[in-house]
């Protein structure tokens, strides 16, 4: 864990965003994760993304399950409400929270044990329910708090710290999210802030279920030779096929002159994701294209990263069940209670 508490003091000339806030205003309390933990980098990327988007932090609700990753929300966005719920069940809590108030931004922070092992069911269902939220899995293939057991995303054939080989097939959450109907699907690496920050910004701006699988190495239990989730392994095997830039709706859009195929996908608020695929045949609007690319790269022993799929304009849960625009938690007695006269009619119908 980091031993030196964060100082409240910050440089008077730190850059400020549209809300007049600095990067520091988006931080949380001091991290108790291991020094060098990938999750702290994920948290820092969230802070950066929210700062750059000028999000009012209190309008973000952080939800998590149980595990190192689920503790992480304490260490970013200190002005947001957080809910550290029970193991593997964050998706249902997020569903309820979102139903209650459709106007907040919901950020789910989970891990591979939380989402792929104990919580695989809830994960699959929240995707197919098309909840409007950003769901980040900090994926390291191992349990940290119980000291190094493999999770369900540990790759078959990889070696755990004690020397044991993983014999079960690993679950790929990105492929699962794609086949369950997620409308924004990305994979990234905690060590690649340049790639990760725009992906988080895009996800937070997306209306619908946005999923980011972030490879986030566990420095204590899964960063050795033989692991497929170590810093070294990931740096060697990552293949960024599609790079994405988040372009806010207020900025001027200039023509791209760089190499690669550029594709712009507009979000609901006029902001835009500018995607560049190094492979011409890749279509980020096609699920099948994404699924087959992931499979092809996996077969080659590569970890495909980038914004793999984006469907803009799809309907989400509130639209699907046709709830009123006003948040349900703001409806008052008059809007909710039918009153005694109606009850008298009902009494009559029960006679």
């Amino acid at each position: 864990m980091t031993c030196v508490p964060k100082s409240k003091f910050h440089h008077p000339q730190l850059p400020v965003n549209e809300l007049g806030l600095t990067y520091r205003d988006y931080e949380g309390s001091m991290s108790t994760l291991c020094a060098g933990c990938g999750h702290d980098s994920v948290g820092a990327a969230v802070v950066q993304a929210c700062f750059e988007l000028s999000l009012p932090a209190h309008r973000v609700a952080k939800l998590s399950g149980i595990g190192c990753s689920s503790k992480a929300p304490t260490y970013f966005l200190g002005k947001s409400h957080g809910f550290n719920s029970v193991h593997g069940r964050m998706p249902s809590v997020a569903t309820g929270a979102n139903l209650a108030n459709r106007e907040l931004i919901y950020l789910g922070m989970s891990g591979d044990g939380d989402s792929a092992s104990i919580g695989l069911g809830q994960f699959a269902h929240v995707v197919r329910r098309k909840l409007n939220m950003t769901y980040i899995v900090a994926n390291n293939g191992a349990y940290g708090l119980t000291k190094g057991q493999p999770s369900a995303t540990a790759d078959r054939g990889s070696i755990m710290k004690g020397g044991k080989e993983v014999t079960d097939e690993g679950i790929d959450l990105v492929s699962l999210a794609l086949s369950m109907g997620a409308t924004y699907v990305a994979r990234s690496f905690s060590g690649d802030k340049e790639q990760l920050v725009p992906l988080i910004k895009g996800a937070l701006s997306h209306q619908g279920f946005a999923f980011i699988d972030v490879m986030s190495p566990c420095v204590t239990f899964n960063n050795h030779k033989g692991s497929t989730k170590s810093y070294d392994y990931l740096r060697d095997h990552m293949e960024s096929l599609i790079s994405a830039d988040f372009i806010p709706h207020k900025s001027e859009i200039t023509m791209q002159s760089e190499a690669g195929i550029s594709q712009d996908i507009f979000m609901h608020d006029g902001s835009m994701m500018r995607l560049k695929a190094t492979d011409e045949s890749y279509d980020p609007r096609s699920r099948s294209s994404a699924l087959s690319a992931i499979q092809e790269h996996t077969d080659k022993g590569e970890v495909l990263t980038g914004l793999l799929y984006l469907e803009s304009g799809a309907s989400h849960l509130h639209e699907n069940i046709n709830t009123v625009d006003k948040p349900l938690n703001e409806l008052g007695y008059k809007e909710l209670c039918p009153g005694s006269e109606v009850l008298e009619e009902l009494n009559e119908s029960f006679r």
Binding site: S85, T95, A97, L104, T323, V324, N329, P338
Partner: protein
Amino acid sequence: MISPIQSVNDFVIKFANVNGTGSASANNLFAKAVFNMGVPVSPRNIFPSNIQGLPTWYEVRVNEKGYLGRRGGGVDIVVAMNPQSLADDVAAVLPGGYFLYDSTNRLPESLCRDDIQIIGIPFTELCRQQFSNTKQRMLFKNISYIGALAALLDIDFEVFTQLLSKQFKGKEHLITANTTALELGYVYAKKTFECPIGVRMTKSDQVGDKILVDGNTASGLGCVYGGATVCGWYPITPSTSVVESYTRFSERMRIDPATGKKRFGIVQMEDELAAIGVVIGASWNGARAFTATSGPGLSLMGEFLGLAYFAEIPLVLINVQRGGPSTGMPTRTQQSDILACAYASHGDTKHVLTIPANPKECFEFSAQAFDLAERLQTPIIIMSDLELGMNDWLSEPLEWDDESQYDRGKVLHEKQLNSLHKGEKFGRYLDLDDDGICYRTYPGAHPEQGAFFTRGTSRDRHALYTEDGDKYVDNMERLVKKHRTAASLIPAPVINIDDKRHKMGVIYYGTTENVMPESLDKLQKQGLKFNSMRLRSYPFNDEVAEFIDSHETLYVIEQNRDAQMRTLLVNELDCHPKKLVKILHYDGMAIPVQAVVGGILNHIGADECAKTGEAS
């Protein structure tokens, strides 16, 4: 030869049907007709966990005095429409009783009894002649036996025609077809038998302005009136119809007139864990939310109930109890989740239970549960059961006070957070009012103040994680204090002191109420007098302890094997276990009068023997 039973407005009739044949609506029509004759009625569905093909029964007690509980023993009349269960159905008739059956196929000689009246009417054949379509023949066979009963029991035919026109308003062809089917049986019975038979009905005025409705319908409606806007659920018998009722009424009463959009969100989840997870998430975020479940669903919700208790999140859970353990008897009734709910989840937990006994209380307790949950910031578990939830009950009409307001509990909104003194920091778990209940905030309320981390781990008064033993104990003790505060807010017991000098009392709860007036009348005839207390909630308030203290012997009447409420009373009130005598019934059918009267008499007899033995 035993003479046929003679009785007016006081009998039990049992319909034997095959499930999935549409008999339910016909049988319901019969119960409604009795009700509309002004005579108290209590119908019960006795059904299998099956879609189609297995035996199902509908037992209706008709009683001018208003006794609604199961009488126990045999029945006066059987309407046997199921060849599979004929032998059992013949055996169920009391000597002198009546057996009405479909004589399209002759009753096997071996089943004939000479101590009962056997009435054969060829319903299948009559319907075959009258209706051309197979489905109609099946459905209207049921209506035709109701028509025959109208003649045999002397029920006003006009009552039926009125009910049909009310039920099928605007669908004239259905009114005509149903009336034809009714007449079919009516005319045949009139023509063939001496009508009425010994058991019969006459118009009365014992129903007043009462209504006839099932508990689950009333519970679902209570959630609408109580302001619930979010429901996460998973279907399970016998609680499913609570959510169906909430859905139906919400769709009628909660649509925004301008946009046609819904002022409620119902999501059928993948399991009960997710169902209660939704409720917790929504309540945390300031909406009124509930779920309903039964049996195994309750077990699955255990972990989340512990989280809601410890993190202090309001929620409403309607538990419609069924026969356990495990899958148990999904379509039979019990009160066997008392302990599982009072102490649900691992670690030291104590929940708040309310226990309705009739549809009016189902409605009121459901609506009130949202106020209680938000005031107390904890789960409120409503302990209904299959007997109450899935059967129609004669009930006082539902009432609503338009002057009432929702009590949203202790919540600091933006304005209050703005007015915090400079340097004063919001603390989620500060007990500022010394009642164990702290102030909470909704997510998104304020840019600077009020945010905190909700967690199931131990924390200090400012919601920061801690493993400090003193801080942990401080928090756990406050939760106990809050639980004591709850006792003053939840429904008080209904205590009836017949005479202060009585040394014996009865304690009961929920649907056991249905058999109590009759049981106590019967015991009184034997010279045994009791004061009574109907528990309506847990934690117990002082009145409960006083009632127990002021009697020598208390019979605790329950519908479970292990005397769970007695255990809870002993555990919570430290009363002497010897004072509390268990009277138990748990075969899956609602407790009959017999079990109460017999149980108490047995104990008194045994007690007398013991005393005599000591003396000699």
